[in-house]
């Protein structure tokens, strides 16, 4: 981390004590708003990809984004993680930073934004030249300056929790797709972010490997981690989401509790999309 925000709690490295629960979320669920994004717009050239997106995430909440390909789901996540700079709008984290994209964003704020969240990618994007444990401690050690021994202890505990204790010293290519994706999740967790962002974490997996990854994410949700998940696994959304947003053409078409969205969508577009996925042959 290139800098520290003044508002950041000092006890953020809660898993200091080996034996402390490494899967405990870094935010206590207390229903207060963790993240508020307002009026996010983003164009690539002439292509207006996001047209005023509003998003509110409470502590401990699981928000699921669904929508057709190209609707802008990934771009939303990337904007939250500071990988993409919106053209307009605001992003506010409780305790900072607060960014208004009307003006150019100082580098420090962008780093602070990245610091708050961590992303799990569709294609895992593990570092192929590092072993599993090296992948996981890279962020804590190189960026957050956590002492290496402590980082290793914490990483090992996390790997253990997702059933990968014996893969510590394997290279990514030696793992199955599901194992790779679980390492990707651990790599994100090791940063102790306040918000986890998942971009279709299972869509590149063989179907019988999907379960092991969804299971891990669901456990994290149950334990109170705050997360935004882009996924096409509607059964997961049904079971784990607090709120589901349906995006299409760069806008949020509909949002609501999963029960409502899946059983009784108000918008025709939502219904058509869900039909196509749930009943592809009709």
């Amino acid at each position: 981390m290139s800098q520290r925000e003044p508002g950041r709690r000092d006890d953020e490295h809660r898993a200091d004590v080996p034996g402390g629960d490494p899967l405990a979320p870094s935010e206590t669920p207390d229903d207060s708003v963790l993240l508020q994004a307002r009026g996010i717009r983003k164009s690539f050239g002439d292509n207006e990809v996001l047209r005023s997106i509003d998003l509110e995430v409470r502590r401990g909440e699981v928000v699921v984004l669904i929508g057709p390909s190209g609707s802008g789901k990934t771009t939303v996540l990337r904007s939250l993680n500071g990988l993409e700079t919106p053209d307009a709008g605001t992003i506010d984290f409780a305790g900072g930073p607060s960014l208004d994209f009307a003006a150019p964003i100082p580098k420090a704020s962008r780093f602070a934004l990245r610091d708050r969240s961590a992303m799990v990618f569709q294609q895992h994007n593990l570092f192929p030249h590092m072993t599993v444990i090296e992948n996981v401690i890279e962020g804590p050690v190189r960026v957050q300056r956590v002492p290496k021994a402590r980082a290793i202890a914490e990483a090992s505990a996390l790997l253990d929790r997702v059933g990968l204790a014996d893969k510590r010293d394997a290279y990514p290519f030696e793992l199955s797709g599901g194992q790779q994706q679980r390492v990707g999740i651990v790599r994100a967790l090791a940063l102790k972010p306040r918000l986890l962002l998942f971009d279709e974490p299972t869509s590149a997996l063989d179907p019988e490997l999907v379960g092991e990854v969804l299971q891990v994410i669901k456990e994290l949700a149950d334990e109170g981690w705050t997360m935004v998940v882009v996924t096409h696994e509607l059964s997961f959304a049904r079971q784990a989401a607090d709120e589901v947003l349906f995006m299409d053409g760069g806008v949020v078409v509909e949002r609501g509790a999963p029960a409502q969205i899946f059983t009784n969508p108000t918008e025709e577009r939502t219904r058509r999309f869900l039909d196509r996925i749930l009943r592809p042959l009709d």
């Binding site: 290139s2 990988l83 961590a118 990618f121 294609q123 994007n125 290519f173």
Partner: protein, 221 residues
């Protein structure tokens, strides 16, 4: 015939020695410096700043578009006219380094571009700056990709160092020329020199294979 064989045998060690004391150190030193330069140029070339990338493009274009011979001449015979007089060895190392810098820059640039964009982003998402991501994530992967083309650059360099004789550096080819000039047996001696270059290249290729294997340990085979 026998006489020729004798000449061949008598010349062998002097030519090899010319290689070991001239060609190889010159090539190694120039390559090492040239690589550092090439990395810098490659990064400039990738810069979004158009002036910076323009300078890099121009440099690469000039280095690749003009004969090495002239580059050597400019540094050795040309620089004194602006008051910079360098000895043969420094001149040669500068010239060859600049040359490697131009050729290897494109290789390194391509290697950096060949690393998937997702690797940069994975670095960013764990909080890395551009520089850290480059150093820790991208370059180690780019290194793997660039070994084969860079070793080509190096093998070309080994042979190109023969031009150093033009600026008074004694190396493999110079020794051969001297022997050839005195004996008049140009054909025989040049063939012998070729054989010795080839032996050097075989040894270097062996080194390349070993290096590739080391760098390939983390990919499925």
């Amino acid at each position: 015939m026998n006489e020729n064989l004798q000449l061949f045998l008598d010349s062998f060690w002097p030519i090899v020695l010319g290689g070991l004391t001239g060609t190889i150190p010159l090539a190694l030193a120039s390559f090492a410096i040239g690589l550092v330069l090439a990395l810098a140029v490659a990064l400039m070339r990738l810069s979004k700043n158009r002036v910076v990338s323009g300078i890099a493009r121009f440099y690469i274009s000039v280095i690749r578009g003009t004969p090495l011979l002239v580059q050597l001449f400019v540094i050795f015979y040309g620089m004194p006219t602006v008051g910079i007089v360098l000895d043969p060895w420094p001149s040669a190392i500068i010239a060859f380094s600049l040359n490697v810098g131009g050729y290897a820059a494109e290789v390194i640039r391509a290697a950096i571009l060949s690393v998937p964009k997702g690797q940069w982003e994975a670095g960013y998402t764990i909080g890395m700056s551009n520089g850290t991501a480059l150093r820790r994530i991208i370059l180690p992967q780019a290194a793997r990709v660039s070994v084969p083309p860079l070793s080509n650059t190096f093998i070309s360099l080994v042979k190109d160092t023969s031009l150093a004789s033009l600026i008074l550096v004694t190396e493999l080819f110079r020794v051969s020329q001297e022997i050839a000039a005195f004996s008049g047996q140009f054909m025989l001696i040049y063939l012998e020199a070729a054989l010795i270059y080839w032996l050097f290249c075989l040894v270097l290729s062996g080194g390349q294979s070993r290096l590739e294997k080391r760098l390939d340990r983390y990919v499925a085979t």
